[in-house]
Amino acid sequence: MIDLKSVSLIYQDHGKEVFACKDIDLGVQPGEFLGILGPSGSGKSSLLYVMSGLKVPTKGSVEWLSRELGKMGDQERAEIRLREFGFVFQYPFLIGYLTALENVLLAFPAEDRRADAEKFLIELGLQDQMHRYPYQMSGGQKQRVCVARALLGSPKVVFADEPTASLDHKSGRAVMDLLIQNRGDGALVVVTHDPVMLEGADRIIRMEDGEIAPKNA
């Protein structure tokens, strides 16, 4: 579904080239749970953002359903992110002046999915948070609202970059369970430095210095 061919992402750091990703070949299959494991600075996030079209690779190509993301315009890439992908980030980013429900509805700027969103939040056990503002919720609660936002509308791929890193272990576990159990038919790509969080993954790759480590777990 997603195909990376010899993808490199190079940053210029004080005139020096830094390979955040180096010559990566990788595919994401429909419905799979792919774990990306690696120490800090190994290029996990970079890989995730390249895969999801948030970054354009310096070299190589990323294809979504056989269409190269790098050749699309910003507008078209944004459209794909909005309709086909879901995102959970390390920090539980919610818009401060919107309620949990309204934040979840951000995933659908053009349609009225209020009823769906309410139902979904109840399904996810977030009915008590529904009408609260972010400042009235704990970090774990906020991150679960973010998961709901990512999952609403059953996206084809959900990308999660260290979704548990800012949380204590118990909340982190709850967030992961929520993601895994409610993704439906969608693929799930999770980046983390904590192997415990990848329990139940179909496939795990390890990143080291921007490259995929030879032996996969």
């Binding site: 507008q75 992110r81 309709r83 818009i95 002046y97 309204e102 349609e111 009225d112 999915r113």
Partner: protein, 386 residues
């Protein structure tokens, strides 16, 4: 309304504004104050030439001619007007005049008490579209006047009040001249008996008031008289001349006003620009997040565009309403009691305040464009920015 509207409401232009009142109210307050200040100053300044035009608007109804250098010229002037007039003349009055002073917000202005023949008084009232409210017309040779209600209010005069007296050099007459009649009219006027003035006032100069038969011809008669008597030993008084004087008299004042308002707009816009910049920077996280989720730059810029539009138009409309309200209070409590003119719907006053919202709008849109130009949402969600 359908579902689509409901969703629009969710992130409609007013959501941010409504839910962040702590930030938006002070900004709207500044716009309101600026608009109010500018509209207020401009209409008060405009009220000065407006007052002058109002006070002397009676001259719209006739052209007045006085001889110059030689008091004996009047009959000749009369003859040349009667013979050459391009429009039918309804009446030509031979009159006298003495000075009084009326009040305005910028001090006293000279005004004339006409001396009329008894036979001309009713005609004069008719052409001033006046209706006698109280009292009677001045009697032959008596120290009496009839005045319009607006003049009465301005000078605080009632029936029996003294309008001119021997001890008042600005409103002088050798006898005490009393108000014996008050008439309702849109015009300001005062007239007494021509016999009294001939007897008591100096210099002994007869002037002419010339009324066109058809009021719509008056302007043509005015222009013709001005052109014909140009260079003659005569002085011609027309409304047009007065209008030109009133409009040019304050040229320098208006130039100063423009500089003051220009400075005000620049200062307020800079201040608002800085505040808007701060508030938009506080929303970088919001915009980065939305862009990462798949919102286009365009849609985010449009959001700020609509928010700003609602905000500046709202502020301006409120400012105009507050200005209008305050001007009405000023008009009723301070201006009307003395018949000072003030136009609370002065379109120039409100137009002059338009640069405030426009400049603020421009600054915020430019700020947003500058911010979005090289904006990387990954920087936001990775917390490298913010």
């Amino acid at each position: 309304m359908g579902g689509a509207n409901k969703v629009k409401n969710k992130l409609g232009a007013t959501v941010y504004l409504r839910r962040n009142l702590g930030k938006t109210m002070p900004l709207i307050g500044v716009i309101i104050l600026a608009v109010m200040l500018i509209a207020g100053i401009v209409s008060l300044i405009n009220s000065i030439p407006l007052s002058i035009k109002t006070i002397y608007s009676y001259s719209r109804n006739y052209v007045a001619v006085t001889p110059r250098g030689n008091a004996l010229l009047t009959p000749l002037l009369r003859k040349s007007i009667e013979q050459g007039s391009p429009v039918e003349i309804d009446r030509l009055m031979v009159i006298r005049g003495t000075d009084i002073e009326v009040k305005s917000i910028v001090g006293n202005w000279p005004f004339v008490v006409l001396g009329l023949e008894q036979s001309d008084m009713d005609y004069y009232l008719k052409r001033m579209k006046a209706k006698v409210l109280d009292g009677r017309k001045p009697a032959v040779g008596e120290p009496e006047v009839m005045i319009s209600e607006k003049l009465a209010r301005n000078l605080n005069l009632k029936l029996g009040s003294v309008i001119q007296k021997p001890t008042d050099s600005d409103n002088y007459s050798p006898q005490e001249v009393k108000v014996v009649g008050i008439a309702e009219s849109e015009f300001w006027f005062a007239f007494g008996s021509v016999e009294y003035q001939r007897e008591n006032h100096f210099p002994p100069i007869d002037a002419l008031l010339v009324f066109a038969k058809n009021p719509t011809d008056q302007k043509r008669l005015d222009d013709w008289t001005t052109a014909t008597l140009k260079g003659e030993n005569a002085r011609v008084f027309t409304y047009k001349e007065l209008e030109i004087q009133a409009d040019t008299m304050f040229n320098i004042l208006y130039q100063i006003l423009n500089v003051v308002i220009g400075t005000l707009v620049v200062v307020i816009t800079l201040m608002m620009g800085m505040l808007m910049n701060i508030f938009l920077s506080q929303r970088v996280q919001e915009f980065g997040l939305l862009q990462a989720l798949g919102y286009t730059k365009r849609s985010l810029i449009m959001r700020v565009f609509w928010e700003t539009t609602v905000f500046v138009i709202g502020g301006w409309v409120l400012g105009v309403l507050v200005a209008w309200g305050l001007l009405n209070v000023v008009k009723v409590t301070l201006m009307d009691p003395r018949s000072f003119a003030l136009d609370t719907l002065d379109k120039w006053a409100y137009l002059y305040s338009l640069p405030v919202p426009i400049a603020i709008f421009a600054v915020s849109i430019l700020t947003v464009f500058a911010k979005f130009k090289n904006f990387d949402p990954v920087g936001v969600v990775e917390r490298r920015l913010v």
